[in-house]
Amino acid sequence: MSQPGSLRKTDVTLTINGKSYTRQVEPRRLLVDFIRHDVGLKATHIGCEHGVCGACTVRIDGRTARSCLHFAVALQGAEIETLEGLSADGRLAGLQKAFHDAHGLQCGYCTPGVLLTAEEFLSENPGPSEQEIRAALSNNLCRCTGYVNIVKAIANAARDRDKTKADPAGGSRP
């Protein structure tokens, strides 16, 4: 099936976490492989490679997306964010602490995708019910099947955000 030239590598420039990266890749290079192998950012994991498991979730132009379902070459000009970028600027600090406290990580493989999914979910639904949290996570597969602690961590993070908002000076916490 391969056409002459389709294996030829071309320069692809992507903006990831605000930094510009140019790499020589084939058109079929998936975004997740560009991020992990070509750029070397390893927080984004790769699981099923057909958009089901959610381990490779990143943000494209401010919204979550599965990086195994995008070709790097098609995303020139887009703003891509990974867990590294979101952690570095502190946006995920509350969620990360909640996952630590509630043992929301088991083997940790699904965690980066879950964190990005949960961050987007909480930014639009700050006071979710347990059922809503479970629905939001329904396409992030945890093969440890450790959803109980993940759900608990997200519920705790929502509660803590609420407190921070009510008391922006960051007064005493229980």
Partner: protein, 294 residues
């Protein structure tokens, strides 16, 4: 698991896209959101030799309220249509169905036209397009034509576009006054493929009787099916439990169900009957807005 090699094109205008299709024909595939196409490429079930991305054609990303319906351009993303004010007010069935299309992160990228053109047997949007008699607007370098939804869907992953054509836009007619709609489906996983689903819009007369029903079902056939016999039977009736049950039975008998790994034929048939009945009762009770199953 990597896709087969392909040539990549990214025109910045519709004319540029149509020119690529004219040149490459069947060898080319359109890449919009990629949420249906790329999984099949990763699994090497599809190996297009030319991939034409429309992601830089901003002229195709519109969601426009036109006189006779809501028009979604080929690059209108599902999440944006789902949250469009006009869509929510005037095309509730479309919005209800979009809640079930993949996960949030799929809808962020996936397009309405992409899902329609892909024509998966268990996709939600073909059922909506069939139920509402949507206009499918096909474009090629030779010009445009409007294809009625009932002539657009041919079979599993098959539409009636010519190799040099693309689905430039779709137009969903607005719901008439005094209409209520319901989209429900049942599957093994939330946002996974459904086993069966129902798209229903009912318009009521001032006397409370059903004046017009629009019904399409999916599950077990090659593509969603419009249930016109059931629609005719419902016209003029007061929808109650007995009528809803009878309509469910009737629809199930119209559907040519095949069993598969996920559900055998008898179960699917029973599910179609139950979902039609449930959708009708939700519409009749007024509890149908944003109804969700599973």
């Amino acid at each position: 698991m990597k896709p087969a090699p392909f040539e990549f094109r990214a025109p910045t205008s519709l004319d540029g896209v149509l020119e690529e299709l004219r040149e490459h024909g069947e060898a080319a595939r359109i890449l919009a959101g990629g949420q249906s196409l790329v999984p099949l490429m990763n699994l090497r079930m599809l190996q297009p030799s030319v991939l034409v991305s429309i992601n830089h054609c901003k002229e195709l990303s519109y969601i426009r309220s036109e006189e006779d319906g809501l028009a979604c351009g080929a690059l209108a993303r599902q999440w944006d249509v789902e949250h469009d004010r006009v869509a929510m007010e005037r095309c509730p069935l479309l919005v209800q169905a979009l809640h079930h299309v993949g996960a949030r992160s799929n809808r962020n990228r996936g397009t309405v036209c992409g899902s329609l053109a892909h024509a998966d047997p268990l996709a939600e949007l073909p059922a909506v397009a069939l139920a509402l008699d949507a206009d499918m607007i096909a474009a090629s370098s030779a010009g445009r034509r409007v294809v009625p939804a009932r002539e657009f869907f041919v079979g599993a992953l098959e539409n009636s576009l010519r190799p040099d054509e693309m689905l430039e836009a779709v137009r969903f007619p607005y719901a008439p006054a005094r209409s209520r709609s319901c989209f429900i489906e049942l599957g093994n996983r939330n946002h996974g493929f459904a086993i069966a689903g129902v798209a229903l819009q009912v318009t009521f007369g001032e006397d409370g009787r059903c004046s017009r029903a629009r019904l399409a079902v999916m599950g077990g056939e090659n593509i969603a099916r419009r249930a016109t016999d059931t629609e005719t039977a419902l016209a003029g009736s007061v929808i109650d439990e007995a009528i809803a049950r009878e309509a469910g039975r009737m629809t199930a008998s119209l559907v040519d169900v095949a069993g598969d790994f996920h559900a055998d034929a008898a179960y699917r048939r029973e599910l179609v009957a139950v979902l039609v009945e449930r959708a009708l009762m939700q519409v009749a009770s007024g509890a149908a807005l944003n109804a969700r199953s599973n």
